[in-house]
């Protein structure tokens, strides 16, 4: 499998996680239809992150335009691939949450969104990337199946 080496500024990922946490927290407490609309937007952001890369999301673009110019050059860059995979994990949780909410399964929907929020919060506060941790595990699996 050919892999394009692609790196991202980890501070941009952190910024995305902070915004995502705020959005998901709002989704959990806001009334319908605000919560569903916000959730649809978040699912769209994750989808862009997975299929076009984390640097293509609106969060990344805002970071690049308004925040990064004020910061020193990044000391080290991070491989985009695990972060992309993590976006996929976020996409899965929020999409399942959205479907549940739309189907009237309120609590189930909140639990899924809560799961996505947990991952985003951990990433925003400690820089820990849950999806990235799974990435190595899946690479082991992929090799095994190949």
């Amino acid at each position: 499998m050919f892999r394009q080496p692609c790196s991202v500024d980890p501070r941009g990922l952190r910024f995305s996680a902070i915004v995502t946490s705020a959005v998901l927290a709002t989704v959990i407490v806001a009334p319908s239809p605000i919560s569903e609309v916000l959730l649809v937007l978040q699912v769209a952001v994750f989808a862009v992150g997975v299929f076009l890369g984390p640097s293509a999301t609106i969060h990344a673009l805002i970071f690049a335009r308004t925040i990064r110019p004020r910061l020193d050059d990044a000391v080290m860059l991070e491989d985009a691939l695990p972060a992309q995979f993590a976006q996929g994990v976020g996409l899965a949780f929020t999409a399942l949450g959205l479907v549940s909410l739309l189907a009237g399964l309120h609590i189930v929907g909140l639990v899924f969104v809560g799961g996505a929020l947990l991952a985003a919060l951990l990433n925003a506060t400690t820089g820990f990337c849950l999806g990235c941790e799974f990435y190595l595990t899946t690479r082991r699996f992929a090799k095994h199946l190949a």
Binding site: D79, V111, G114, L118, T126, E133
Partner: protein
């Protein structure tokens, strides 16, 4: 209000997990004993085993904490006689990763002079954590 309840639960969980992660980070496990010890063929990695210990670090590309760990282990190598360091790229040694149950990078294994795994730490250890562990077990 269900929403607030879920939010509170998530916040509490996030707090607990952060504490757990911080506690575990770079902490070396209890030394394994006799039968259950794993063995690493250091020579196969292209590195000369240390007389006292070999520090084997599993890394992946562009992993920021791996870079930090590499620097720390290199420093330990100069500070402590008889210690050698090996850096292994996890993705090109997946069989080894599976055999040794490496789940994340960086993971540092401390091997004794015969190549048996004495202890391991996942997440970047501090220099003092490595030095203290070496002193305690080898």
């Amino acid at each position: 209000m269900v929403g607030l309840g879920v939010l509170a639960a998530v916040a509490a969980l996030a707090g607990l997990i952060s504490l757990l992660l911080a506690w575990r980070k770079g902490r070396f496990s209890r030394p394994s004993d006799g039968e259950s010890r794993e063995h690493v063929d250091v020579a196969a990695l292209g590195v000369a085993a240390g007389d006292r210990a070999t520090l084997v670090q599993f890394s992946s590309a562009f992993c920021a904490p791996c870079r930090t760990t590499r620097v720390i282990l290199a420093e330990v190598e100069t500070l402590v006689p008889g210690v050698s360091v090996a850096d292994v790229d996890a993705e090109s040694h997946l069989e080894l990763v599976r055999e040794l149950h490496i789940l994340r990078t960086p993971t540092v294994l401390i091997l004794d002079a015969e190549g048996f795994v004495v202890t391991r730490a996942s997440g970047a250890p501090t220099r003092d954590q490595v030095l203290a562990t070496l002193a305690a077990h080898l």
